[in-house]
Amino acid sequence: MKKINKNSLNGFINYGIVIAAFVVLQLLLNRGALSNSLQSLLVPTCCYIVMAVSLNLTVGILGELSLGHAGFMSLGAFSGITAAIALQGLIPSPALRLAAALLVGGLVGAIGGVIIGVPVLRLRGDYLAIVTLAFGEIIKNVIMVLYIGVDEKGLHVAMSEAGLHLAEGGVTIVKGPMGAVNVPKLASFTAGFLLILVTLLVVQNLVSSRSGRAIMALRDNRIAAESVGINVTKYKLMAFVTSAALAGAAGALFGLNYSSTVSSKFDFNTSILVLVFVVLGGLGSIRGSVIAAALLYVLPELLRQFKLAEYRMLIYAIILILVMLCTNNPMLKQLMDNTIGKFKKQPAAAEKGGAQ
């Protein structure tokens, strides 16, 4: 009983952090205290937080290494964009259209998750990593030759622009290697915030549910879990598809924040970036993922202020390596603890003043 209370308390703290951050940022926004640069980072940061939390479900909680998370983001982005443009006439309200696009993005992400999950989750460890890596690249290359257009008859999909056979007044939404262009900018910070809340709600409730315990049992000892009658495929798929759906929704929000999106954006590097957020935030720690994603996504942009130009990304990489080392190396950890301890102790000792 106590254990469950602790879990839900942890969950509530996470909601609290996110809501507090949103309120503070929103206040700053209204007072015009946020620079343009930070304002433009709000929505993508929300997307990457959702990406990190959802990947944490696969990597940290299910315990399977996935290197193709950006593939689901890509599926969500392009399907979300397509939905947002195709539904222009049906749903005039931008907020509702955004919600519909996020749903479509999440749904397509989930379908992708099922398609890839059913055969692939039979594999374990390195094999799963390799297949998900290939999946991400396949998605990228398929979208690169995909043309999607819409006219009054509905959606058209082809492998070349001429092959679309659009009627008069039809719009090409996705143009192969040019990606999606002239995308309406529907995304907003509030939408990003709500998506993070929904993600936390879904992931935290899943984790603390009976199914979540089954998933974690699979991670800790598959054979033991199977021996007590846990359906391996069902629970693995449950975690994997939930993760894919959330990534799809994040992708849709991301796609609708920019006027153009190309499929090469969602490549191996993006998958690894999200994995870095998850690993540095701590495997299995939802709060860690949220904080790591927010800080590490904003960091390279903050480094712009120190006129370093070409060294910016190098410094970013060095910081990542240092964080990785400091959080994992016991000696450095000890050193850090000691130095921080010293700094903490000194003022306290001064206050006590000769009590020793």
């Binding site: 620079s35 343009n36 640069s37 304002q39 433009s40 980072l41 993508p44 290359n141 690169m144 030759v145 070349s160 622009e161 192969g176 290697p177 040019m178 990606g179 262009v181 002239n182 900018k185 991301f254 924040n257 920019y258 006027s259 153009s260 999106t261 190309v262 090469s264 954006k265 942009e301 712009r304 202020q305 130009a309 070409e310 910016r312 990304m313 190098l314």
Partner: protein, 400 residues
């Protein structure tokens, strides 16, 4: 001979352009490089550049950065009524980073009039142009060549040819000069630039009745084996290969075609520019290669040689390519346009944007630069300048 005459007229036109440009006679009296206050009442216009200076595409971003820097240094040394305050932000060639870079430029400029120069690559440029359109900043890109960059945006202008424009020009050139009876096309269908040119070329070739016997694609510029595509073209009997691709894959295609002793005429777009300066490239492979490029670094007119010298100082010996030259021309276009506008000092970016749009689309505004003389802009934001076809002879460009 033809080359020399052209070079002379270009040089004359450029000098005339310089002198007749703003600042008048001050061009002849060298002013100190930092002319802040040197010319009394000089107005500073902020120019914020965006492009990839790290990552896979860094070579293009640094070229546009250095090319523009050369022009900015020259302009500020002129002591004219306008000085440019130039900074450059990295976008790593990615759209979302480019939008962040653009926003940090807005922070940098604060309330001063700001003109956006960039972005270098197409996909980020489309994203940034949508933002500048909404925020009303004037934007001039040196090298983002898709028509999507300027479509439905009155504030976005290009210094380079559009991709379809280049494809159409290539088809017309082949038709007019009777080059090639059977044409093969190899392009990168994973790349917007390559696909854009190839699609327009194929459509125009159909209109003109050119005989395209083979159309081959490859998925990415990291591909290293092109023998399948070359064999298909060879089997179809193509005697001219149109390659609207970048120079790295093109150099491999040239080498592999030679290995299989297949020697059609090779014809490329401006992405081929830079091949001759590739490290370890056997220049004899490119002998006879024809390409459309607006800039020739081995030209002998004084403006080009000065540019090449200053550029090499900045780049540590690397020769400028057309990206650099387009960047150089962008700065002069911005400078000369700003000189023609009264009261810039009191303008915000929005008024400056509207004034520049009116000037660029007004019809009477022309710029002479390294990549063309009397360049003008269409209402759509596309540039109008004459395409130049060069041929590689003895390892250097010669006007074809």
């Amino acid at each position: 001979m033809k080359n020399r005459v052209l070079a002379l007229t270009m040089a004359a036109a450029m000098t005339a352009g310089l002198l007749s440009g703003c600042g008048g006679g001050s061009a002849t009296t060298p002013a100190p490089a930092q002319s802040k206050g040197a010319a009394s009442g000089a107005v500073t216009v902020k120019v914020g550049g965006i492009g990839p200076i790290t990552g896979d595409l860094a070579q293009y971003g640094t070229a546009t950065q250095w090319g523009a820097q050369v022009a900015v240094d020259e302009i500020n040394a002129l002591g004219g009524p306008i000085t440019l305050d130039f900074t450059y932000e990295d976008d790593t060639g990615v759209a979302d980073t480019a939008v962040s870079a653009y926003n940090s430029l807005k922070d940098w400029a604060k309330d001063a009039p700001l003109v956006i120069y960039g972005t270098t690559t197409t996909a980020p440029c489309v994203a940034v142009a949508a933002e500048t359109y909404a925020d009303r900043y004037f934007q001039l890109t040196p090298s983002a060549s898709s028509p999507d960059v300027t479509a439905n945006k009155d504030n976005a202008f290009q210094m380079c040819f559009t991709d379809p424009g280049q494809g159409v020009a290539a088809a017309n050139y082949l038709k007019d000069n009777g080059l090639g009876t059977k044409i093969g096309v190899i392009y990168n269908n994973g790349d917007a630039y390559s696909t854009g040119i190839a699609d327009a070329f194929l459509a125009e070739a159909k209109n003109l009745g050119l005989d395209v016997v083979a159309t081959q694609t490859y998925p990415s510029d990291t591909t290293t084996d092109y023998t399948v595509q070359l064999n298909a073209c060879k089997d179809a009997g193509a005697d001219l290969l149109f390659l609207p691709i970048y120079y790295t894959p093109a150099s491999l295609i040239l080498a592999q075609a030679k290995q299989m002793s297949y020697a059609p005429i090779f014809f490329g777009g401006d992405g081929m520019d830079g091949m001759l300066d590739m490290e370890g490239f056997d220049k004899s492979l490119a002998e006879g290669l024809m390409l459309m490029t607006p800039f020739n670094a081995s030209a002998t007119d004084s403006r080009t040689t000065t540019f090449v010298d200053s550029y090499k100082k900045l780049s540590g010996g690397v020769l400028p390519n057309q990206f650099a030259a387009d960047g150089y021309d962008c700065m002069y276009a911005i400078y000369e346009a700003c000189c023609k506008i009264d009261g810039i000092a009191d303008m915000d970016h929005e008024q400056l944007c509207d004034a520049l749009i009116a000037l660029f689309t007004g019809g009477s505004f022309t710029v002479d630069g390294l990549t063309g003389s009397s360049m003008t802009w269409l209402e759509s934001g596309e540039i109008s300048k004459a395409p130049v076809v060069v041929k590689v002879v003895n390892g250097v460009y010669e006007n074809a």
